[in-house]
Amino acid sequence: MLARIWNLAVKEFIQLARDRLMTGFLLLFPVGQLMLLAVATGQGIRHLSLAVVDFDRSTQSRAFIQALDNTPELEWRYQPSSEAELAGLIDEGQAAVGVVLPDGFSAALAGSAEPVAIQVIVDGSNTTVASTGQSTVDGVLSDFLGRLAKRSGISIGAPLQLRAEIRYNPTLNARLFTIPAQMGFIVYQVTLAIASLAFARERELGTLEALLVTPMRRFELISGKGTLAWLLGGLDFVLMYQVVTRVFAVPMRGSFALLLACGLFFVAVEISYGVIISSFARTQQQAILYVFMLAMLDVALSGYLVPVKNMPSVFRAVAAASPLQHFLVIIRAIMLKGAGPEIIWPQVRALGVIGVIAGAVALRTATRSLE
């Protein structure tokens, strides 16, 4: 039986190798996409374009603007002379954060005038940008007041501070997670694309009948088709791992063997989903559009962009069935936190449950669709 499965896998390899473009693509695509995304992914919310209207024009106001510019989050680009000009910059999207320093800013700081308010205008059309902008300006102001207080010996404002100690990634560099997470996404796309078309393609081209009349049993047919996707997915994963750790210097604090084992297991679970799609779709076009929709949902549910626990409860339940979501937790835990098998056990177990169910459904639906 194993020999027959292997024979079919070899046939699939030969068929793939004939399509030069496809072969090159399957090998280069993952690494290429990873490089591209990694280069373009920022470190997080940094260098937001800042515009300051300075009505005070004093040493203090300049020092304050300098303090804003010195944060990694803000970059001082524009100095409009009026609020109307500032409004134009925000409308066009040139500036993401606008600050208006009122006349009397330095006098208020010196304690010789009424308290004043600094206007902080943020572009609410992107809420992550807006809230980062607001809290950065608040933080700079409270530091600024604190330093002044120390120098003058009087206590003004900000009587309580929060000091952060951040584990695993002290500078909150977003790339340390976004880059390894891409490995999960890319392997996912490639294997799902191959597996989902396994039968749809043969059916559409009319070669499925030829395969069905061979002595191969249905189960062997399905396994043989899956082997190709599994091996390619594993190979892509190892290639991308090299890029992630060598080119982008993402730390690997845990065990590579554990990560690879989890990776291969994840790919196998993913293939079951592909085979299910393959047996439902009548044409390749349908299969592809199903994959596309599934992939969109899976990326959204993966917890990469939005924490799973912030989702509405219906989606949390659906997310629990997404292998990608569990695998990303595993990648993050092993690579950044150096977690061992006991820490990632809940995710591995979840993958196992999904794998058994999806595998059984895949075998059943595929066997039926081949009748």
Binding site: A40, G146, L172, Q285
Partner: protein, 372 residues
């Protein structure tokens, strides 16, 4: 034989019939973007919430309990674990049971009552999990604001300078309002995918030869397909906008005509690239991978949907700007929320037009050569 508008129309009609005949394809190209938008919007509309909090109280006074109550009052932060040792907090973070922990030092209540001295300001320590950087920085920003507000409430003196924050276009910073218009640009790549598949399918099934044998010329064939898919795409753009406004109550402050016009601009760019892809490849499988590669995955990650385009690095600007979704996200957010006109959007609209015209012309030229 020269270009004939009549034959072009015939191709458009044939393609439209093709799309509407098969119920599943019809759903996939016209209604599925609206459907996906609903699902994705619920997932993506997140505001900092449900943060699991660890707590180590080294002070155990009325002040420290009041501080915990102030932090957890509105349910954004939920007390998940109370520890007596620092190591317990560390292992809870490693296992992911808590996202952030607050450590209140002994003497907290006393120091706070005394007020800040020249040498030191009373402080609380926040221990956070940095492995999810974007979320963590939002959580820390939120915690710091709450901590400062708690301090200010106890302080006898008012601050000489304070900030008056104002978020334009979206005053209460509801993320749904910012995500729904942005996600439109992601889900509206589906019509372009359908076009690539339609062309490669004809190639793979061999029906392209049959078409070549008819009097229809190459450019008429390609333009006909393009027009048919842009038309169905406009239907899906309208359906998706209706969902955004009627279902999610996202304000639509700009002009609907401009939205449709720029949607055509966006379709020309994405479908132009799709046609180029269709020229290059032989199978639908490869076409799908290329479309995933060019539009889909980068659409989520480098288009400015969540974190803004990193404008401080030239290479990342080049990559982000080469992606049609980046421009369309900026356009939809501006039209829906800012209500601006074409003048403010000229950069994005112009770049999309350049991409569209260039890619459509190249594919027309390449196609004519191949069958001529």
């Amino acid at each position: 034989m020269s270009f004939s508008p009549r034959r072009l129309l015939a191709v458009v009609a044939k393609e439209l019939r093709h799309v509407t005949r098969d119920v599943r394809i019809f759903f996939l190209v016209t209604l599925s973007p609206a459907f996906l938008l609903v699902v994705l919007a619920y997932i993506f509309a997140f505001d900092v919430g449900n943060v699991s909090l660890g707590w180590l109280d080294g002070d155990r006074t009325a002040t420290s309990r009041a501080y915990l109550a102030a932090i957890t009052a509105d349910g954004t932060f939920q007390l998940a674990e109370t520890a007596t040792r620092y190591e317990d907090l560390e292992s809870a973070i490693l296992a992911g049971r808590i996202d952030v922990a607050l450590v209140v030092p002994p003497g907290f209540g006393r120091d706070l009552a005394r007020g800040p001295s020249a040498s030191d300001t009373p402080a609380v320590l926040a221990l956070a999990d940095g492995s999810d950087a974007i979320i963590t920085s939002q959580v820390l920003g939120n915690l710091s604001a709450r901590t400062a507000a708690f301090g200010a409430r106890l302080s006898p003196q008012s601050s000489p300078v304070e900030t008056r924050p104002r978020a334009w276009y979206n005053p209460d910073l509801k993320s749904l309002r910012s995500m729904v218009p942005g996600l439109l640009a992601i889900v509206l790549t589906l019509p372009a995918l359908a076009l690539t598949l339609a062309v490669t399918r004809e190639k793979e099934m061999g029906t392209l030869e049959a078409l070549i044998a008819t009097p229809v010329r190459g450019p008429e064939f390609l333009l006909g397909k393009l027009i048919a898919y842009v038309l169905t795409g406009l239907a899906s753009a309208s359906a998706a906008a209706a969902v955004a406004v009627l279902w999610f109550s996202v304000p639509f402050r700009g002009s609907f005509g401009l939205y449709l016009a720029l949607a055509v601009d966006f379709y020309l760019a994405t479908m132009g690239v799709s046609l180029l892809i269709a020229q290059l490849v032989k199978s639908q499988q490869t076409a799908m991978l290329l479309v995933l590669f060019f539009f889909f995955v980068p659409g989520f990650f480098v288009s400015g949907l969540i974190s803004p385009v990193n404008t401080s690095s030239t290479s990342s600007v080049l990559i982000s700007y080469a992606l049609p979704s980046t421009h369309f996200i900026a356009i939809t957010r501006s039209i829906f929320l800012k209500g601006v006109g074409l003048a403010q959007l000229r950069l994005h609209a112009g770049l999309l037009a350049v991409m569209g015209i260039a890619s459509v012309s190249v594919s027309l030229l390449a196609f004519r050569k191949r069958i001529g």
